[in-house]
């Protein structure tokens, strides 16, 4: 689990309330009403965003994305965590506390 964001493999991360998104050529721009900030998601990060609903643990999202790509699962999971931590720091996502279980 990241010490800075609190996001780990078992975390369930969801879009924060009040996030507005536009899609352009497979990329996204998000506006987070809570933090009044904008975020640009490249295609990879947009895929991660699209996997946040319905809610699922980070490990499950990572496994799904790894299965759809040629990248090693551990690399995909690291990238997914990096995207989510970035979005978390900008207020665009939040951890569903009820769904969090301690990492093994």
């Amino acid at each position: 689990m990241s010490e800075t964001s609190g996001i780990g493999r078992t975390s369930v991360v969801t879009p924060a309330p009040g996030v507005h998104a536009v899609v352009l050529d497979g990329e996204k721009v998000l506006f987070s009403a809570g933090s009044q900030t904008l975020h640009h998601l490249d295609r990879t990060a947009s895929l991660v965003w699209d996997c946040l609903l319905p809610p699922a643990p980070v490990a499950e999202i990572s496994a799904d994305l790894a299965a759809a790509s040629d990248a090693p699962p551990e690399v995909v999971e690291r990238d997914v965590l990096a995207v989510l931590e970035h979005l978390m720091s900008g207020g665009a996502v939040e951890v569903d506390v009820a769904e969090v279980t301690p990492d093994a």
């Binding site: 352009l24 996204k28 721009v29 904008l38």
Partner: protein, 284 residues
């Protein structure tokens, strides 16, 4: 001249959706105002909303001027040499801070070629006015050096052809424009494009290209494509009053760039930047 003398020493103009009159008792200053705004449309009589009324009046001494807007002092008295600059600043601020229904207004310069508009969107001191001045000198049509209002219904950029406001830091690369300065200010030229031999004012024109310029002294001049989403992120920072209606403005910006090609332009040389943009617009 498009300004209309409605009555003794009263001039009427429209800057985007901002209508304003200027009057006063200083003939020389009023002549400079008229020259600076000669390319702005005069509002026809009977327009829907009363214009703002500026007055430039003698101050407490010969070298002091009082500027008021609708009777309220704008910065109180100022040195006569600064009064024109204060007026120009206030008009720009009012024009760009007003909501313009059906439009998204960008802090951007804009020019046209071949029936297509290019916007140069960036924060202050990024080279917008200098670059658009170079483009005008190269034969591009002029839309604005300050605020590009993009119509959301048809994607056209509206003209706001205020005089080019060329800061002293760029005088050395635009020295031929010195003879066309009508403002007489110490650190900034005011150059009406219609006064230039090769200058022409463009009509509203469909947006085709978004360029995000950044002047970096001593750098190589480089044009790089950027994704539309990356461009939207930059344009949001250059959208007047973006946070007044962020969701709506974000949707609007997405619409604005949907049919445009987007680039980042690092500018080290004005001449090279104009060539690069000329090639870009010519190739399309």
């Amino acid at each position: 001249m498009t300004a209309t003398a409605l009555e003794r020493r009263t001039l009427s103009f429209r800057a985007l959706d901002y209508r304003f009159d200027v009057s006063g008792d200083d003939d020389e200053l009023l002549a400079r105002v008229a020259a600076c705004y000669r390319d702005l449309a005069a509002e026809p009589a009977g327009a829907r909303e009363a214009p703002a009324r500026y007055e430039l009046l003698a101050g407490s001494s010969d070298d002091r001027v009082r500027l008021t807007c609708d009777g309220t002092p704008v910065f109180g008295e100022s040195a006569r040499s600064h009064a024109l600059g204060v007026l120009l600043w206030h008009v720009n601020a009012q024009a760009t801070q007003r909501a313009m229904p059906g439009h998204v207004v960008l802090h951007a310069a804009a020019a046209t070629r071949g029936g297509r508009a290019l916007v140069l969107a960036a924060p202050m001191e990024s080279g917008k006015t200098t670059t658009v001045s170079g483009l005008v000198r190269a034969g591009f049509g002029y839309l604005t050096d300050e605020a590009a209002a993009v119509c959301l219904a048809d994607g056209h950029v509206e003209p706001f052809p205020k005089s080019l406001a060329i800061d002293s830091g760029s005088w050395h690369v635009l020295d031929a424009l010195a003879d066309h300065d009508v403002g007489g200010m110490a650190t900034q030229w005011q150059v009406p494009v219609s006064s230039l031999p090769q200058g022409h004012l463009a009509e509203r024109t469909p947006l085709s290209v978004v360029v995000l310029p950044k002047y970096t002294r001593g750098s190589e001049t480089v044009l790089e494509p950027v994704s539309r989403a990356a461009a939207v992120l930059s344009l949001a920072a250059s959208t007047f009053q973006f946070l007044d209606a962020p969701e709506r403005n974000l949707d609007a910006l997405a619409d604005v760039v949907a049919g445009a090609d987007c680039y980042r332009l690092t500018i080290g040389s004005l001449e090279r930047a104009v060539t690069v943009i000329d090639d870009l617009m010519g190739d399309r």
